[in-house]
């Protein structure tokens, strides 16, 4: 049986367009005549002229989507990697659990049908065909907030929702001690805890979306269905400091730890992984200019940009947030694989890098990143300062393989208004973390030592996590630790366009009113010899730094 992709007529040319060599034009050096550049700036965009000589790295164009995603999913289930086909593993008396990635992926949410809905419908039909009735669907939230009923319905689709909600389709609860079980310890002494239902199932299917190379693999089960007792082994400053890049799993201590724990899971549980990859078609239709090189803007693009910015600028903050959160990206599936976790993940990773990787020569003194309105932890919520830190230093700084885009001791300019603004029902512990803990110290190890256990065990935060829609009490610590490799590497962080300088100061950053001012501050020591790189988002790009 041939893979469905081979039926695509244009596949060959599409692949050629994504050869690394063909991507040299994605790195643009600005001159005097270059147009201003669009830079994500919270729930708005900056449109700024950058200094001559600035290097702008653009994301590659979207990969061709699969012509028939449903056929590709069926093919993957029939021809899995290093495993028997799904149907061959089924019998009517078995207990099956399907775990699904939560709302943190993809970003922004994708247009319906969500990939998870497509895959679930096919998997559930297969299970039904083979008489498997004891099926539970668990949203693998780990310590993320519980998804709401409406969010789950949108994600899994009407069919699965009507059949399983709420008794057999629910969020994972990392604080329900009765429903957790310890499977053992890894060879590094890491405690491996898992959802009891998943652990006691005859077959555990994990259905994932790989938005970036950080996702998927053993991290899906060993993190998504695990409580604090497991996560503390790798979500800590010491481990994260040893990560070269979160986007390069081969050089990430976080992933090494998750892999060790995942292998312990696989020794106890029959895990059948289904991984999917999507292209980077984040904006389409009237907003497709957001993904273009500004030098190639047509008059129509400039008109749409003006109209877009005018509209955003004339909305109230809450309306603007609501409108942006409603936006659904036209992502399309570029690959799906099923079977044994490691084998599946290897193939998925290759496709993800094929989408995002851009070769870049050398590091620079200054890196400019724009933090958008959304990150994995504020879907339908507020981008608070701790999350800005996590997105800027944790995610965008890490968008590299090889070496960081900025040299050791260099400067990162983070474009964001940086307001002292939180969602009290989604991020209650973040508020205390920011106002109490960060006031005392910004040192990740001290924060871990002095405060982490208190927050992790706080009954109010636990209640809000279990029964409300709050992130776990310990979550802001993880977000802070996430920025640890960047904090160790760079000399300065400057918030450009910062509206509340005290917020920047609280996080150990400097504040600048404008991007020009931030660039002047960053290059004050080096003068005109300073090299500047701007990582152009949206959509996403990973720099292969030579």
């Amino acid at each position: 049986m041939a893979r469905p992709e081979s039926k695509l007529k244009e596949l060959k040319s599409a692949e050629l367009r994504h050869e690394p060599g063909a991507r040299r034009d994605l790195v643009v050096t600005l001159n005097r005549r270059s147009a201003p550049r669009l830079i994500a700036y919270g729930d708005d965009f900056m449109y700024e002229k950058l200094p001559v000589g600035t290097r702008v790295i653009y994301p590659p164009p979207p990969l061709e989507p699969l012509a028939d995603p449903d056929a590709a999913i069926r093919y993957a289930l029939l021809r899995p990697e290093n495993a028997d086909p799904l149907f061959a593993q089924l019998n009517p008396n078995m207990r099956v659990t399907i775990a699904i990635d939560d709302i943190s992926l993809p970003l922004p949410q994708m247009r319906r049908p969500d990939i998870r809905e497509r895959a679930l419908n096919i998997v559930l039909q297969t299970l039904a065909d083979y008489g498997v009735d004891d099926v539970h669907l668990i949203v693998a939230t780990s310590l993320h907030r519980r998804m709401t009923e409406a969010e789950i319905r949108r994600m899994v689709g009407e069919r699965a929702f009507k059949q399983f909600w709420p008794e057999r389709l629910y969020n994972f609860d990392g604080e329900n001690r009765a429903e957790l079980v310890m499977l053992g310890k890894s060879d590094h002494g890491e405690e491996v805890w898992l959802s009891r239902r998943a652990a006691e199932s005859d077959l555990l299917l994990y259905l994932n979306i790989n938005l970036v190379p950080m996702d998927g693999g053993h991290k899906s089960v060993a993190v998504g269905l695990a409580p604090y007792q497991s996560l503390r082994h790798h979500h800590n400053p010491a481990t994260l400091r040893q990560c070269s890049s979160y986007m390069d799993p081969t050089r990430s201590a976080l992933h090494h730890s998750a892999n060790r724990m995942g292998r312990v899971v696989n020794q106890h549980v029959n895990v059948f992984t289904i991984e999917t990859a999507i292209n980077n078609q984040m904006y389409g239709g009237m907003l497709d200019f957001l993904q273009k090189n500004e030098d190639r803007f047509s008059d129509w693009d400039r008109m749409r940009l003006g109209g877009f910015r005018w509209t955003l600028g004339n909305m109230s903050d809450s309306l603007r947030r609501q409108v942006l959160n409603q936006y659904a990206a036209p992502y399309a599936m570029t690959g799906v694989w099923a079977g044994e976790t490691d084998a599946v993940h290897r193939k998925a990773l290759a496709r993800v890098f094929q989408q995002y990787a851009v070769p870049v020569k050398g590091q620079s003194d200054v890196l400019i990143v724009g933090v958008p309105y959304i990150c994995p932890y504020n879907v339908n919520s507020v981008m608070n300062p701790v999350l800005v830190q996590c997105t800027g230093l944790g995610y965008l700084f890490n968008m590299f393989r090889g070496k960081p885009l900025v040299r050791a001791g260099g400067t990162v300019i983070v474009c964001h208004p940086l307001r002292d603004e939180f969602h009290p029902e989604h991020h209650p512990s973040y508020i205390e973390f920011f106002h109490r803990c960060l006031r005392e110290t910004t040192d990740a190890s001290e924060l871990e030592r002095n405060f982490e256990a208190e927050f992790a065990r706080n009954p109010t935060y636990i209640h809000m996590y279990r029964y409300g829609h709050a992130y776990h009490g310990v979550h802001p610590f993880y977000m802070w630790y996430w920025g640890e490799p960047a904090r160790q590497h760079v000399g300065r962080v400057i918030a450009a366009g910062c509206e509340e300088p005290e917020v920047a100061t609280r996080m150990g950053w400097e504040a600048a009113d404008t991007l020009d001012e931030a660039i002047a501050m960053a290059t004050s020591d080096l003068g005109r010899s300073a090299s500047i790189t701007y990582l152009h988002l949206p959509p996403l790009v990973i720099a292969d730094v030579e």
């Binding site: 109010t460 209640h463 809000m464």
Partner: protein, 270 residues
């Protein structure tokens, strides 16, 4: 200072036994820990007075007073408390305290939010001592405090004359800023930093009380408190009886049956 000590009981195993607690959690009662309010309690009491004729008179007066109580609630919580407590005028102290136990056992305990009590116990296990700060009368709060193993509470107290309630309240009346003043005094006497203390309340009238504490939490907040909580970035917690077998009934109409049942028992001298 109005500190009331419930009957001492041995500490539970999860309790911080290493001396003085490092922080307190101050809980409002009505609407916060329990899905009842003071009007329910007053109706229960008046329906369980010794004589049938007295019950009718007291209850009729309470019903006639409802518009006045509504206006008082709209203006000021303290005023509401004072007006409501006038309903007890002429009731004997013995009867009030005796019924307090019964009300607690038959009604109040059943209407406590299980997850609120879970949180209270969780806080206690984390070394945060629970304290009740409520506008309910002491004869209701004392039995509950005893059952919850809460050593300290602040509640409203009636003035008695020759063993009968006068319908007036002793100062300080626990409402609004009086609650925060009491908490400040309580914490100062124990050298506890209020900034480290938690406060749980459901009403906008509790805003001064919540503002005085380092960790305010809005519980099942009314519209105005919810707005204030969002504005001030306070955590918002929602308790319900949904997860229980008793379901929503317990939170809505079942209280009526409870105290009517209690009234029938009262007539037989229970």
């Amino acid at each position: 200072m109005s500190v009331y000590a419930a009957k001492p009981t041995p500490p539970r195993s999860g309790r911080n036994l290493r001396g003085r607690p490092r922080a307190c959690a101050f809980y409002d009662l009505d609407g916060t820990l329990a899905s009842l309010n003071l009007l329910h309690a007053t109706a229960f009491y008046l329906a369980n007075l010794g004589r049938w004729s007295a019950r009718g008179g007291y209850l009729a007066r309470l019903v006639l007073d409802l518009p006045r109580l509504y206006l008082a609630e709209r203006d000021d919580r303290r005023l509401l408390n004072m007006k409501l407590f006038e309903a007890y005028k002429g009731v004997s102290r013995d009867r009030l305290w005796e019924l307090g136990d019964e009300y607690c056992e038959r009604v109040l305990v059943r209407h406590l939010y299980p997850r609120a009590i879970e949180m209270l116990e969780g806080n206690r296990a984390a070394g945060i001592e629970p304290v009740l700060v409520t506008g309910s009368p002491d004869f209701l709060v004392e039995p509950l405090a005893r059952r919850l193993n809460v050593e300290h509470f602040a509640a409203n107290r009636l003035v008695y004359s020759r063993g009968l309630a006068t319908g007036r309240m002793r100062e300080p009346v626990m409402a609004g800023s009086e609650k925060s003043a009491w908490c400040a005094e309580f914490a100062a006497a124990r050298r506890i930093d209020l900034a480290a203390c938690w406060g749980y309340a459901d009403s906008y009238y509790d805003l001064p009380f919540l503002c005085a504490l380092g960790h305010p939490v809005a519980v099942n907040p009314d519209r105005r408190l919810l707005a204030a909580a969002h504005n001030r970035q306070w955590p918002v917690v929602r308790f319900s009886h949904d997860a229980e077998s008793s379901g929503q009934d317990a939170a809505s109409g079942a209280w009526l049956l409870d105290w009517l049942g209690g009234a029938a028992d009262g007539a037989t001298g229970k």
